[in-house]
Every structure is written in C-alpha cells, then in structure tokens.
C-alpha cells in the first residue's frame, strides 16, 4: 500500500480526547456535584416546619433541574442540526416567539380572559403554536442557509428583535392592568417559579428528553453534515424537523416555568463541551443537562441563601454567557 500520501503533516497536536471511561467518570462527578449543590438549596437557612419546607423547596428544585435539562438539551439539538457551536434557540429568538404568542393571546382575549383559562390549557396551546411557528420559520431557513453561519446569526438577531418589538408593540396596546399578566412572563426568574405547571412540564419534558435520547446516534451522524449523513443512510432533513419539534417543545416548557433565559444554554453547553470533549450525543446530552442543573441550583443557592439576593442569578448567567458568545463568535470569524 503506498505510504507517501502527503508527508508534510502538521506538528503533533495535544490529545484532545479523553481516555475511554474518563467521560463516564466525569459524568459521575457532575452528578455528584449536582447532588452536593442541591443539599444546601434544600436545607440552608430554613426556619420552620420541615414538612412545609421540603416539599416547597423540592418543587422549586425540581423546576430548576427541569429547566436546566430543557435548556441544555434544546441547545445541544439546535447546535447539532445547524452544525455550529455559537447559536442557541434563545439567540435565534425561540423564547421571544413564545412570549410574543403569550402577549398576542392576552391582546386578543384580554387579561381576564387569559387568566380564566386553565394554565395547562394555555401552556399546551402556546407550545403547539410555538412548534408550528418554529417549523415554518426555522424549518425553511435550515434547508437554505444551513451552511452559512453569518446568515444564520443575522437571521436570528433579526427574528429575535422582530419578536421582541412586536411583543412590546402589543404590550403598549394592552390595558395597563392586563400588562401585569404578561410582565411576569417576559423576564427570567428563578426565585418565583410557576410550580402550577410543574407536573405537566415534567411529563412533557421527560417525553421530549426520551425522544432526544433515542435520537442520540442519529444526531452523531447528522452532525457530520448533509452529504455525510446521507452517505451513511440517515435522512438529515427528517432528523432536523424532528429535532426542531423537540426544541420548540422544550423551549415552551422552560419559558413557561421561568421565562426567557437568554445565554444560559450557550454557557452550559460550552462548559459541557470542555468538561466532556466528545462527538457523541450519548455523553454530551447528560453532561450538558447535569452542568445546567449545577449552574442553576448551585448559582441559586449562592444567590438566594448565601449572598441574600443582592444580584439576580439571570444577570450573572447572562454576563458570563454573553462573554462566551462574544469569544466564540470572534474565534469563529477568525477561523
């Protein structure tokens, strides 16, 4: 067999992959860290009846972990089907779209009309509308501009601004009293979590995550690109549509629970890629989910219990995540 195919190799690079088993050990370590950060969240600074504190905080803890999983999984899926590591559903305006749909409902039905509907019903209708809207908007975009990162970034910024402007336009037309109904939904909040929706959110989210987990090997192949995926017998278009539906469902869950989260997804998925460097979604999905749980629960413990809420957690996360976004964008442009 000839061996002279290009002798001019690059200088040996440092090994970027971990040894077999090391990823598994790091996942176990992340799970341990999550447990360690959950314990003080549940117990620290409580005065009173444990029979009240534990279920009360337990529900909030569950909501935080669920949101973390929803945001990280939807970000991983989105980055895989768009084949880049900079864009996230939040940056592309998914959660702005959710808030816009909610605002539109208040505008059309009136604040009291919306308040009178069962929260579960509103949530299901909202999530369904978001799935349809994201398929219409992003499904067509993926086919055409999927290879052009700058075009995707620009489209995302334009979509996000458009949705936010339309939302604030609608909000101006709404009766000031009714504005209170949506104001709660328009900002990230990890302290007052809407636990009414917890049960249905958990069911929907677990189903979506199970579907994403079942796709993990196909996602590995879709991440190789359109032609390579077809060559290996996988239909990338089908995978992209399925992933988009899951993303829209998961964004609905997290936005309904805590509001838009901006840079959280980018921050935790970038961290997870550093902690467990791997091309396999079987490792990346749990790693990103656990990292998100640690950032949210650990961060909230620190803010709420130790620092007594001097700064809201979303501000810190957005600052760190925004920096990561800028760094990634500059690195991507230089390449």
């Amino acid at each position: 067999m000839p061996s002279d195919l290009s002798l001019t190799g690059a200088a040996p690079a440092p090994l970027r992959r971990l040894l077999p088993g090391q990823n598994a050990r790091r996942l176990a370590l992340l799970a341990l860290l999550l447990a360690v950060s959950a314990a003080p969240y549940m117990t620290l600074g409580s005065r009173g009846n444990w029979g009240f504190v534990l279920p009360f905080r337990g529900a909030k803890l569950a909501a935080l972990v669920l949101v973390g999983m929803a945001v990280s999984t939807s970000t991983v899926l989105f980055q895989t089907i768009t084949r880049n590591r900079i864009l996230t559903p939040s940056i592309m305006g998914f959660d702005a779209l959710y808030v816009m749909i909610l605002t539109g409902a208040v505008y059309l039905l009136g604040g009291h009309g919306v308040m009178r509907l069962p929260p579960t019903g509103i949530f299901v209708v909202n999530a369904g509308l978001l799935v349809l809207a994201s398929l219409a908007l992003f499904g067509t975009l993926l086919g055409r501009a999927g290879h052009d990162l700058m075009r995707m970034v620009l489209t995302g910024i334009i979509f996000g601004t458009l949705f936010r402007s339309l939302t604030s336009f609608l909000q101006r037309m709404i009766d000031p009293n009714e504005f209170a109904v949506i104001q709660v939904g328009s900002y990230a909040r990890f302290t007052q979590i809407d636990t009414d929706l917890l049960a249905i959110s958990a069911v929907v989210l677990l189903a979506a995550m199970a579907a994403a987990w079942a796709m993990r090997h196909r996602l590995d192949v879709i991440a190789l690109g359109h032609d390579a995926a077809i060559n290996l017998g996988e239909d990338p278009r089908r995978g992209q549509i399925q992933a988009l539906v899951l993303i829209a469902v998961m964004v609905s869950v997290s936005t309904a629970l805590v509001g838009p989260v901006a840079f959280l997804g980018l921050l935790v998925v970038s961290l997870a890629r550093l902690i467990t460097p791997t091309p396999y979604h079987g490792v990346l999905l749990p790693s990103a989910g656990l990292t998100a749980g640690i950032v949210l629960v650990g961060g909230q413990t620190l803010m709420e219990r130790v620092l007594a809420l001097s700064t809201p957690l979303p501000v810190i996360i957005d600052l760190a995540g925004g920096l990561v976004f800028l760094i990634l964008l500059l690195k991507g442009l230089r390449r």
Partner: protein, 250 residues
C-alpha cells in the same frame, strides 16, 4: 453495475443533465471527465442520492436509488463528496468509525471495531489515529476520508474530485490506493477527475460528458484523442502515447 436510465436534472430553470443513459460496469475504476459545468458532479450526487432524482431512474445492482431503503444503499455504495469537511474536530479513529454506522446504527460490536482498526492499518493511519482532523494536512485528511469509505465496506465507492488540494505525490498515492481497492478488494470505483492524464493513467473505463450529455465512453486509449479534446473540452491540445497510454500535452 450502475444503470442510469433517462436521467434529467435541472437547478431551478437551468437544465444540468439532459436525458442521460449510461451503464457503469462492475469492477475497476471508471473516471468521469468533462469541462467545468458539464454535469459530472451532479450525476455523481444523483447516483449517491445526495440530490433527489427529478426524472429517470438509477439502479445499483438490484437497488433502485430513491426507492430502496437509504441504509440498505449505504451498505452497497459509499460517496466521498467534493467538500468533505465533515466535523473537523473528530479524530481519525472516530471518523473511520462512522463508516460502520450503516451496520451498527450507533452500537458498534467487536466486528465493527476490528474493521475500523483494519482500515486504519490498511491506510497507515495508526500514528494519526487519535489526532483531530483539523490538525492534519490536506492529504492526510483525504486519506482518513477514504479510510472511512473503506470501513463502510461497500461494493461501490464514488469520489468527487478527490485530487483537489493534493500535490503530485498525494494525487499519485491516492490514485494508487484506489487502484489497489479496485484490484485487490474487488471494489468498483467511480471518480470525477479534472486532470485527463490521471484519468487515462489509472482508469479502466473513461466517460466524458459535454453540456449535460454523455459524449464518449470506453477505454482511455480509445477515448483520449485530439478530436475529443477539441469537441468536449474546446481546446486544441496534442495527444502523445507513452508506453501505449495517451498523454495530453498541456
């Protein structure tokens, strides 16, 4: 055998292929040559279902492209696309490992691991196996890509301009590798080439295309003539014969 029957294709309003019918024989290397924009790459991507067929049909042995299951075709035919920029962060071993995906669907068995290691050994990639692709030279990356199609273990291997970005040593080594795959492993190689001299030196079967139609097909010694160069490529170049093989003077 790859049988192409009455295939037409258009990008929007612009027709690319006009009612093409062609049989690509089993075994050996078949080279597709022609001027820029003659439709070679389009034809190759239609055979490999990278683009959907608009008219006509293509049958690979007993599998009809577009009608058969995609993963079944993935065990029969592999393509190395022109822009094989698949995931620069993968290591060579991971990339070659993906060649086994049509068989194991994400759960590689002992047999799959053995075939990956065999491909790495056969292409002398052992020293590079754990290096990410973006730290390799163009030739090394190309070799890793071909190793992946080797691990895919298909009867047919399609390559779209694999010599792009390779120097003369890299180009010759790759063509010898393809020849080795065809002769020793019984693979059928279909390759789009720009350089007629590489095509006539290594191909067993040469097909020329002109403006979306098949112009000539046959052994390189019959096809490569000064007349063909004038008609198909629109250039006046002399053809000499060295050891019986045609050589185009450039």
């Amino acid at each position: 055998m790859i049988r192409i029957e009455n295939v037409s294709f258009a990008h929007g309003a612009a027709p690319v292929l006009h009612d093409i019918s062609l049989d690509i024989p089993r075994g050996g290397i078949t080279a597709l040559v022609g001027a820029n924009g003659a439709g070679k790459s389009t034809l190759l991507s239609l055979i490999a279902r990278l683009a959907p067929l608009q008219g006509g049909r293509i049958v690979v042995d007993d599998l009809e492209v577009g009608a058969c299951r995609s993963d079944e075709l993935a065990r029969k035919l592999a393509i190395l696309p022109q822009t094989a920029d698949a995931a620069p962060r993968l290591t060579v071993r991971e990339l070659v490992g993906f060649g086994r995906y049509p068989y194991h669907k994400g759960r590689p068995g002992r047999d799959d691991h053995a075939k990956v290691e065999a491909a790495i050994a056969a292409f002398e990639l052992g020293a590079l196996a754990d290096r990410p692709l973006d730290t390799l030279s163009g030739g090394q990356r190309q070799r890793a890509q071909v190793a992946m199609t080797y691990a895919q273990d298909t009867d047919y291997v399609l390559l779209d301009e694999p010599l792009n970005n390779l120097d003369i040593a890299g180009s010759r080594a790759l063509m010898q590798l393809l020849q080795h795959l065809a002769r020793e492993h019984g693979r059928t190689i279909v390759v789009v080439l720009h350089d007629l001299n590489y095509a006539s030196a290594y191909a067993d079967h040469l097909v020329t295309m002109r403006a979306g139609r098949i112009a000539e097909a046959g052994h390189p010694t019959e096809v490569v003539t000064a007349d063909m160069l004038r008609d198909t490529f629109g250039t006046e170049a002399g053809v000499h014969h060295v050891n019986g093989a045609p050589v185009v003077l450039v």
